[in-house]
């Protein structure tokens, strides 16, 4: 009897664990696919369908190190734009990216897409993270 209860609890825990995991995965997929649409509408013209950028005019989105080092600032970049020199993929860029005042949820989705495409793999960017980051914009 006791053994059965222990086994049942163990199975239950495994099931809960597995379903939690897949909830995260489902959320990731939801963010990622919605984010690809936001990307097409708001980013792709300049940054390219493969995140390749444009020569020395528009930086690529393929520099994983840059994205990781600036993770907390990415939401602010999207919302407020960037001006001034930045070093991406071993090159300096000094043009302006215009502000794009889209909803925080859309920012979370598009950042999930960008940071998990083009050779990047940084996991889900949640709405909570984006809201926290936006409160700390410089």
């Amino acid at each position: 009897m006791r053994v059965k209860v222990i086994v049942a609890i163990a199975i239950l825990l495994v099931v809960i664990g597995a379903s939690c995991q897949s909830d995260d995965q489902i959320e990731f997929k939801r963010y990622y696919s919605a984010g690809s649409l936001v990307y097409q509408q708001h980013c792709q013209n300049c940054h390219g369908d493969k995140g390749q950028g444009l020569s020395a005019l528009i930086p690529p989105l393929t520099d994983s190190t840059y994205l990781k080092n600036n993770k907390a600032a990415l939401a602010c970049f999207v919302k407020n734009g960037i001006k001034g020199k930045i070093a991406v993929a071993g090159r300096t860029f000094d043009d302006e990216m215009q502000a794009d005042d889209i909803a925080p949820l859309e920012i979370a989705k598009v950042l999930t897409y960008v940071t998990n495409s083009f050779g990047n793999k940084m996991g889900t960017v949640t709405l909570q993270q984006v809201q926290d980051d936006l409160n700390n914009c410089k």
Binding site: Q44, N45, C46, G48, L54, S55, A56, L57, I58, D95, E96, Q98
Partner: protein, 215 residues
Amino acid sequence: MRKLWIGVVILTLFNACKSNTKTALPILGYKTPVTKTVNGKTVTDTEYATIPPFKFVNQYADTITQKNLDGKIYVADFFFTTCPSICPVMHRNMLNVYKEFKGDDNFRIISHTIDPKYDTVPVLKRYADKLGIAGNTWWLLHGEKGDTYKIAKSYLQSVSEKNPKGEYIHDGFFILIDKQKRLRGTYEGTDPAEVTKLIADIKTLKAEPDQIVAK
């Protein structure tokens, strides 16, 4: 025997048509019948629309007129350097055209800025450098707004002043012009497949007999 002859005739005609469509591009633009008197006889001929004379300045501050394009096949488009929408896609695609033909002195690309107030010659030079283009294959042309808007019409393009939202609305077409300054093709500059077709069409056009002869 008779049937055989008919067969031969039909086959010949069929092949004649086929080879025609393969080796020549259509001539676009408005056609006007022109009646001339040649050797005392009245002859009516079709005249195709051509690009009228113009005068602009390129990114090196050199004056560029229609004469600089004599004997050259060229592609034209309209853009501005701060364009946040379609221009980066257009010029990402145009770079492929540039790379394909940059060694050919009988070929040019001209990009007219529709925002001459911001896109001064130094701004155009800086844009060219950052885009990674050098030499004389690709000219970025600056001119009076009125002149640019007027010449756009001869390329069948629509460009206009900023709308109330502060945006410029313009067509994203690449226009192919032959050595006789006639329109030979229009291509959606934002579509990589159309730009691949443009590159193929430029090769076809270069091989046309009256393009080889023209100077």
